[in-house]
């Protein structure tokens, strides 16, 4: 039987030697250069520099994860950068192409509205009932701001989601970074007691928006409730209804993405409002990666619960030895546990069976996708800033 001191010694994060850390980082180095080292993609000097900076940034962060054995704080650098740089690159593109952040009706009729992943759950029922996409974009590339079209985004989302489940919300979502950054600003939370029933709101928003999208034949969330319209593209308000819509976007952004994360140190929009997040929770069942609690080591100190930015650990779930299905796999709880009782886990194996191997397997999958998807957005944002500076 191990003593308390032995257990705590075992519980220290597995720091690695420099050589071993470099070795483990090599696949990400190769992948990053494959993603950002293609001269045919990046035409000008600023884009070249941005690509190189992004590659180095992603490699250094991964190296630090390998070296220190911790995940959360390094991932947070990436995620906050993604959240801050996405609007810069996106707004620049929007203004360059159409001269305004507002989406004119003409652009919608032409099917040139940019498609992000948020409306995916809203499209399913209308498509099933009527074989129609209730989004004013196009399935295939259609010029303008539609990017690669709906099909490419859905394909990319599906591929990433099937592997890392709700890890999407920590490694791919280009919206969550702003509130994660806000939540990191205060040292202590001003509001510490949050009624856990608020967690149900995200499911309620999903249910309401899916039903309304089917009834009114429009992506209801995008039309009325998306807080990130405030930092991407807004309704071209040509009447009172448009003004009301824009008012709702700004209020939700100010409340859920700025004020509440500052007060609670939680990702409040993700935890209590995002319907896509609720939808993603279902895919935690398809992913082989999860977070478990080793009951033999756990002393219920609630450090993991306090660290979770998403309220995905409760007393009951810790007693059951697992995180809730809303877990975003950000690694905060794993890093916070002084006894290493919270572990990365691969389904089908015993709990706490080589948790570092499980972490490595998850991180290779998640980081490769982060480099490909988030990295290209970061590079675009940096290139935009460099263009302004040049």
């Amino acid at each position: 039987m191990a003593t308390e001191a032995q257990l705590l010694r075992l519980a220290r994060p597995a720091t690695r030697t420099m050589g071993r850390s470099v070795l483990l980082t090599l696949p990400i180095v190769l992948w990053s250069f494959l993603m950002f080292g293609n001269p045919s993609v990046h035409q000008d000097l600023q884009a070249h520099i941005a690509g190189a900076m992004t590659a180095v940034f992603m490699i250094v962060l991964f190296f630090m994860m390998m070296k220190t054995g911790t995940t959360y704080r390094w991932r947070r650098w990436f995620f906050v950068s993604l959240g801050l740089l996405f609007p810069i690159g996106f707004i620049h593109n929007v203004i360059a192409m159409r001269g305004t952040m507002g989406i004119p009706v003409e652009e919608m009729i032409a099917g040139r509205t940019p498609f992000c992943f948020m409306p995916i759950p809203l499209l399913i029922l209308p498509a099933a009932f009527t074989r129609t996409l209730v989004f004013p974009g196009s399935i295939l590339p259609n010029g303008g701001m539609s990017g690669s079209g709906i099909a490419a985004m859905v394909g990319l989302w599906l591929a990433i989601t099937l592997v890392i489940g709700k890890g999407w919300c920590s490694y791919a979502c280009f919206f969550g970074g702003i509130e994660e950054g806000m939540a990191a600003v205060p040292k202590r939370a001003k509001i510490r007691k949050i009624d856990p029933r608020w967690r149900y709101l995200t499911w309620a928003v999903l249910l309401a928006m899916v039903l309304l999208s089917l009834a009114l034949f429009e992506p209801a969330y995008c039309m009325w409730l998306c807080p990130f319209k405030a930092v991407s593209e807004y309704v071209a308000a040509r009447n009172t209804v448009g003004l009301i819509q824009n008012g709702i976007f700004v209020l939700l952004f100010a409340g859920l993405v700025i004020a509440l994360p500052l007060l609670t140190k939680k990702r409040t929009q993700c935890s209590f409002f995002c319907p896509f997040g609720a939808f993603q929770s279902i895919f935690n069942k398809t992913s082989i990666f999860e977070v478990k609690i080793d009951q033999t080591r756990c002393k219920p100190c609630v450090l993991c619960q306090n660290a979770c930015p998403n309220m995905s650990l409760s007393k009951e779930s810790v007693a059951r030895g697992e995180a809730l299905m809303s877990c975003m796999k950000c690694g905060a709880c794993v890093d916070a546990c002084p006894r290493q009782a919270v572990v990365w886990h691969i389904k089908g194996t015993k709990v706490a069976w080589k948790p570092e191997r499980a972490r490595l397997m998850f991180l290779y999958a998640a980081w490769a996708m982060a480099v490909m998807f988030g990295g290209s957005i970061i590079a675009q944002g940096i290139a935009t800033i460099l263009h302004f500076l040049a």
């Binding site: 009834a215 009325w224 309704v235």
Partner: protein, 220 residues
Amino acid sequence: MVGPILFGEALALGLASGPACIAACGPVLVPSLLTGQAGLRPNARTLTVFLGARLLGYLLFAVVAWELGILASLVTAPRGLMIGAVYVLLAGVLLWYAYSAKHICAQSCSDSKLVNIGENKHRLVAGAAALGFLTGLNLCPPFVVAGIRAAGLGSVVQALLFFSFFFVGTSVWFVPFAGLGCMVRNQAVNTVARMAMALIALYYLILGIAMLLGRKGYGH
């Protein structure tokens, strides 16, 4: 022979329009069924009340529209005011329903069946009836199609029969909704359904007020 053919047409029209009907009624019906008790029988009862009230709304509107002579002009008539008013009323009933369902989980999840005989149950039945009636008055596209066809008939009785058969056709699509009774009822499901109901109510409220004020939709 005109009768059977005509009513067969109404039935076929109802069956064909069913998906559009459940799409239009879904935001109202699904959360209200989820806030009720578990089990096929209680759900079937709520669904029956909802559909019965919806039929009443259909027929009442058909009679009034026939008498006013506006049944044929449903497409071109200014429908905004009526739909706006129905949306605002729907929002009010949904909010009231969400509030009334506050304690239903505590009752349906408790051990004693006696507590289920309380007044909340009656309130929810009344809520289902009010929601069904208002969705019956809501001029959804399938209803307008049926209204225009019924306007060409010889008498108000024939029009009402046409609407009734149309209703039967659409109602077939609602039967699977009773299956929501098989879903587990706990605090989570009850709370999610009530929150969704309140959100949908706000949505209808904003749309309804905009329509009553004569404001058009997004970006126009």
